[in-house]
């Protein structure tokens, strides 16, 4: 009797493991193996065709002495901040507007605001390539000419490159974040706002004292996903700048991609990937520390 139950339990366990095993098998083949292999590769010099040659840490020495690598890290953070910070603020206001009773056709607006998220990045990058065109008649330059600002070389100058790429990120993600915020806002009890209105609070005051504090976990979620997203920034700079990927706009992922698939230097590309891996670990740790603190303060409140 007892034995029978044991085997029942075992059978349940076994079937559970069987159910989840395909994921782990596929992950091992397509996820774990490439990760371990790229770790291994980072100690070798390899062009993808000839035998690998062990070089110790020299790939790391190389990328740490390459100014373009530091530019890529700096770019990733700058574009990340320029793309996400305004985005979160705007998304917050958009979500507030969509949640309030003042706006008509709210459902249509909700759909519209989400649309950019589902467009192909390549299409976005091409359209923005037309907008941020170097020629005087390029859309952005044309608008700026009314303010007597000379034609800007959007794909070559230090800040313009970043502004162009950051605005692509902004445009594509602002709707996604708006919807997340909106979902969070709908869980805020309406009576808080009613009470505030009775006390004569303005809309800005409502946002500051009710919406933002109540939304803190959602804001944190959005900040984390945006951080991860901006660390993975790749397609936008690639399409906007072409395979050469100028130093002014290259991101870390674009840097390692270029090493591997343009320069055929898989060793240094892997080394860059390992460094990125550690950057992500550090950022995740910081994120984790902040989130756990929020949990504590919530309990106090």
């Amino acid at each position: 009797m007892k034995k029978r139950r044991m085997s029942d339990q075992k059978r349940t366990a076994l079937s559970a493991y069987l159910f989840i095993s395909p994921f782990y098998i596929l992950f091992a083949i397509f996820g774990l193996f490439p990760m371990i292999f790229s770790f291994y590769l980072s100690f070798f010099r390899w062009d993808g065709l000839t035998p690998m040659e062990y070089v110790g840490f020299s790939n790391f020495e190389f990328i740490f002495s390459d100014p373009a690598f530091f530019s890529s890290i700096k770019n990733t953070f700058l574009i990340g901040i320029m793309g996400t910070l305004p985005q979160i603020i705007v998304a917050l206001f958009l979500a507030f507007a969509l949640n309030s009773q003042l706006v008509r056709f709210r459902n249509s607006f909700r759909t519209l605001v989400f649309l950019p998220y589902i467009t192909s990045i390549v299409a976005v990058a091409i359209i923005f390539g037309v907008i941020f065109n170097n020629q005087p008649f390029g859309f952005a330059n044309y608008v700026l000419s009314f303010f007597d600002i000379g034609p800007i070389r959007w794909n070559a100058e230090y800040w313009p490159v970043k502004i162009a790429i950051a605005s692509m990120v902004f445009w594509r993600w602002v709707g996604y974040n708006t919807i997340i915020f909106l979902a969070g806002m709908q869980s805020i009890p309406k009576d808080l706002y009613e009470a505030a209105k009775i006390d004569g609070a303005t809309i800005l005051q409502q946002i500051r004292h009710i919406t933002i504090p109540m939304l803190r976990p959602v804001i944190m979620f959005v900040v984390f996903t945006a951080t991860i997203g901006s660390l993975q920034l790749f397609t936008e700079p690639l399409i906007f700048l072409g395979r050469g990927l100028r130093e002014e706009g290259i991101t870390v992922v674009a840097y390692l991609w270029r090493d591997a698939f343009v320069y055929n230097s898989f060793g240094s590309a892997s080394a860059a990937a390992i460094v990125l891996f550690f950057i992500i670990i550090v950022l995740t740790t910081i994120n984790f520390l902040i989130t756990s603190r929020i949990g504590k303060s919530k309990k106090v409140g």
Partner: protein, 442 residues
């Protein structure tokens, strides 16, 4: 239990999704293995040509619109012991797949077409390809243009990677209306004489700019390309060492382009952008230094006949584009594969490919054939365009390009672009050199 079921369902769903992606990728990477192509039917078209009970099946990867299927049918009729499994895919996909399969050591075809710009990547991978000299390729070597032949060769000249198919000799396309507006005779012979040297090119540019306010050409890139391709030494020597700063040909090409840019005679309209295309129709620039295959692009952008014409480049010609047929070492039928590609690249077949699909021949014997000489194009004012391109093809200087040619060339293009943006040429050159040295240090 409910939770467990959900987890199971979720992982099952993700397996299905992942599996679907994985399957599609597999199909792409190893597209040659079987004709089972449910996932990638759109990207790769496969055609089995020849009798079913032939002794040897050759898998042949090609890209673009070559018309080789028609030629292959002719071949298998004469050689019934061979069938050819022709697989056409997108150019970039083909090169990615070839690189992956060569790198992995499995999955390569018996014959692969490789674009001229890509063949240099394999210079270090001699074990992965059949040396065509082992199959008496020296017998046919003389049939091809010297510079094309050498383009698929190791630095020491002992290893031949491929047989050339088509090429892209560069000429000067020009707008007859702009030349006339500036008071010049616009016939090809007159323009060829008028713009015989690069100094002439500059003088004419000034004149056109003064009289019509128009640009001489679209951007610095094609001017730099044209002068680069006329240099007998470019970025690397045959040992693969960087020499760009040790001879003056490249620096002259660079400074010449920089001067034209600084004087506003050349535009800053990057290739393939919408305004570049529309500039062809509206006549924003007077000339375009481009290869034979650019004809189609021009015809698409400016439908009116007789506006654009063709003449020779100042001081010679260059080449941009073209392909080779290689035999990866994995093949078990090297002999049959070689016999086939030798046949396919022979002058008679190249003439057919030219007349049918516009592939420009790499064998000069074709240039004397009557069908070739008679080929005229009403669009370009009824001149015998093939002859102009043929002359250009014979004027190209052979040069060893090296394994990292294209990424390095990209850095110097960026330098030209920087100059267009106002950077001091000396500084731009130096920065390009620094970046190049870092690429080579990897």
């Amino acid at each position: 239990m409910l939770k467990l079921g959900k987890v199971g369902l979720f992982s099952l769903a993700s397996v299905v999704v992942l599996g679907a992606c994985g399957g599609a990728n597999d199909g792409n990477n190893g597209g040659n293995e079987e004709a089972d192509t449910d996932a990638n039917e759109e990207e790769v078209t496969i055609e089995q040509i020849g009798s079913e009970d032939a002794d040897v099946e050759l898998v042949f990867w090609e890209f673009g619109n070559t018309g080789y299927d028609v030629l292959i049918e002719e071949y298998v009729e004469e050689n019934p012991h061979v069938t050819i499994n022709l697989q056409n895919s997108d150019m970039n996909d083909l090169h990615d797949n070839l690189f992956t399969s060569i790198s992995a050591g499995t999955g390569a075809p018996d014959i692969s077409m490789v674009e001229e710009a890509q063949i240099g990547r394999y210079l270090n991978a001699q074990e992965s390809f059949i040396n065509l000299y082992d199959h008496d390729a020296d017998n046919v070597e003389g049939e091809f243009l010297d510079w094309v032949w050498r383009g698929a060769q190791s630095g020491d000249g002992d290893f031949q990677f491929g047989l050339p198919t088509d090429i892209g000799p560069t000429v000067m396309f020009y707008r007859t209306d702009v030349f006339e507006e500036a008071g010049f005779d616009s016939s090809p012979e007159a323009v060829s004489e008028l713009v015989a040297t690069w100094d002439d090119f500059r003088d004419v540019a000034e004149q056109i700019n003064e009289d019509t306010g128009k640009l001489m050409t679209d951007s610095g890139e094609l001017v730099f390309n044209a002068r680069r391709d006329q240099a007998t030494q470019q970025y690397f020597n045959t040992d693969g060492e960087l020499i760009v700063d040790e001879h003056d040909q490249m620096r002259e090409a660079f400074d010449y382009t920089a001067d034209l840019l600084n004087d506003g005679l050349v535009g800053d309209i990057p290739l393939w952008t919408p305004e570049w295309h529309s500039g062809m129709a509206s006549g924003e620039y007077a000339t375009m230094l481009a290869p034979a295959w650019m004809q189609g692009v021009i015809k698409d952008n400016e439908p009116e006949e007789g506006v654009w014409s063709i003449t020779t480049l100042p001081e010679g010609a260059g080449n941009w584009g073209g392909s080779y047929l290689t035999i990866p070492a994995e093949t078990e039928h090297a002999e049959e594969a070689y016999a086939f590609i030798e046949w396919l690249t022979a002058p008679e077949q190249q003439l057919k490919a030219f007349l049918g699909y516009g592939l420009f021949p790499s064998t000069p014997a074709v240039y004397d054939m009557p069908e070739f000489l008679e080929y005229e194009d009403d669009y370009f004012g009824g001149i015998a365009t093939a002859q102009v391109f043929g002359e250009a093809a014979q004027a190209v200087e052979p040069v060893f390009k090296g394994r990292q040619y294209y990424p390095v060339d990209d850095e110097f293009k960026q330098a030209i672009d920087d100059v267009a943006g106002g950077v001091d040429p000396e500084e731009a050159w130096q920065e390009a050199l620094d970046r190049t040295e870092r690429i080579l240090a990897r």
